[in-house]
């Protein structure tokens, strides 16, 4: 009997020094991303729904199909911005703080460039149509604007990481927040590809 009790009350942790498994933070971020991705999916789904319910010309009301050059440049800025982040993350895993900082700054700059380009794009577009022109205008500005807001949030997170890394919080043993925030940034990138496809390419298809 005592043996049995001893077995049942024995330790479970068998010298598990290294943190094993996913952290709650990782799961939390994955769930947040899932729900946000669903939001974007519903948004882009609404775009197609409205388009096919509308029938006829798309974009309607004499608005011309969006030009591709600028959005492609924006893509070329935003999507690769994940790379420095990946590099930074890999660096901090090995304890290389400089890589973290450099990577974060690069990502931040690329994100900023993207937003500036988006600003100039709006500047041009607003001469032709606004979000009150018709449903296409509403969709265009809502979708791209909402994504732009996400880029902004992503940049805030990145700046937060940068600030925290300046304080010296991260290293090979503590880098969870970096990976978690990076997940969000990658997500924002991928969503952009979907938006590029929906807003810019699909009217030509």
């Amino acid at each position: 009997m005592t043996e049995r009790i001893a077995a049942l009350t024995a330790p479970d942790a068998l010298a598990a020094e290294q943190p094993a498994g996913r952290s709650t933070g990782w799961w939390g971020m994955v769930m947040l991303i899932t729900t946000e991705a669903t939001f974007f999916a519903a948004l882009l789904g609404s775009y197609f729904y409205l388009r096919f319910q509308h029938g006829g010309d798309w974009p309607p009301g004499g608005i011309e199909a969006p030009k591709l050059v600028k959005p492609l440049i924006m893509t070329a800025v935003l999507v690769p911005s994940s790379v420095p982040l990946l590099w930074a993350e890999r660096g901090i895993r090995k304890g290389r703080r400089w890589r973290l900082r450099v990577g974060l700054v690069a990502t931040l700059l690329m994100g900023l460039t993207f937003l500036i380009l988006q600003g100039t794009e709006y500047d041009e577009k607003l001469h032709h149509f606004t979000f009150t022109t018709n449903v296409y205008g509403s969709l265009f500005y809502f979708i791209t604007g909402f994504h732009g807001f996400h880029v902004l949030v992503g940049m805030l997170m990145t700046s937060w990481l940068l600030a925290a890394s300046a304080q010296g919080s991260f290293g090979s043993r503590h880098h969870e927040q970096v990976s978690v925030a990076a997940l969000y940034w990658h997500f924002v990138d991928i969503v952009w590809v979907a938006i590029l496809f929906t807003i810019y390419l699909s009217p030509r298809l």
Binding site: G45, Q53, R90, I190, F197
Partner: protein
């Protein structure tokens, strides 16, 4: 539906059919060689069990059925027929090929140079990232959704209608993405998602497909310029919607049950007459007369 396109170049069509035959033959050969190699080294049916081989074989037959003979005729005749062709590729051939766990055998059968490249890519950082079951499944799911949507937009769709080669590429896209996606769900254990995640993944992949079906079914006008039959379009939409949903629901539940049931609930051997942790006085102070 489009008389114009297919009457014009039957030549291109027979060429694509030949290409298909060659492709299927090559795949079958390569897979067979890989499996042969594996079985020779590790014993028959060990790494790749027999049923997977059968599944793969059947999966290769499906595209042949889908793009020739009566199905082909149907596809020419109506949108509904065309969608049934797509569904054959996406929901029949895809899972079958995926269940064949083709990754390893095909890699084995590849020429040495290619294999070396492959091996190098596998161990690199990106390769390692991509080889994670979760990442792989998400990517394949995305690819499937994108190709599904892309090829059903009016532009690509009509172009595929007109040009047999583009049509062939379309079908190849469907086949490849579906097979890859299902390989992550049904494939070999090492590259497969754990069942609960697979259920989630399946569910998530169902959403864009259903959305496309919904767009077709609910659109008040014809989506494609040269299709005018609304009922046909609705039927096509439902065809895209229902079989996919049913398949995914069935697969999800089957996976879940298979994972969940055998280990079963370990009920205590004897539901205790009284529980050891029961409080001293389970009888409430006041009980109405005759309430028991």
């Amino acid at each position: 539906m489009t008389v114009l396109a297919h009457g014009a170049d039957t030549r291109a069509e027979s060429l694509t059919t030949m290409a298909l035959l060659v492709g299927v033959g090559l795949l079958a050969g390569a897979y067979g060689r890989g499996v042969h190699e594996l079985w020779r080294r590790r014993g028959a049916g060990v790494v790749i069990p027999g049923w997977r081989v059968v599944a793969f074989g059947l999966g290769l037959l499906v595209p042949l059925i889908a793009v020739t003979g009566p199905v082909h005729e149907l596809a020419e005749a109506s949108l509904t027929g065309h969608m049934s062709q797509h569904m054959l590729l996406l929901v029949v051939a895809g899972p079958l090929l995926g269940a064949g766990a083709p990754g390893l055998p095909l890699a084995l059968a590849a020429p040495a140079a290619l294999r070396r490249c492959w091996a190098r890519a596998r161990v690199g950082p990106t390769g390692r990232l991509l080889r994670r079951a979760g990442v792989l499944a998400v990517c394949c799911g995305l690819a499937q959704a994108v190709s599904l949507w892309l090829w059903h937009l009016p532009g690509p769709y009509t172009r595929a209608e007109r040009d047999p080669w583009i049509h062939a590429v379309e079908h190849a896209c469907f086949l490849a993405t579906a097979a890859a996606f299902w390989a992550a769900i049904l494939g070999s254990r090492r590259h497969r998602l754990p069942a609960p995640l697979a259920v989630l993944m399946l569910f998530a992949s169902m959403l864009p497909a259903s959305a496309l079906g919904a767009v077709f079914t609910l659109a008040p006008q014809p989506i494609y310029p040269d299709a005018t039959d609304l009922v046909d379009q609705q039927r096509a939409g439902l065809l895209m919607w229902v079989p996919m949903d049913v398949l995914i629901l069935g697969a999800a539940l089957a996976l879940f049950l298979r994972w969940f049931a055998p280990s079963g609930p370990s009920t205590p051997a004897d539901p205790p007459a009284t529980c050891r942790l029961e409080s001293q006085s389970p009888e409430p102070a006041v009980l109405p007369e005759g309430a028991q």
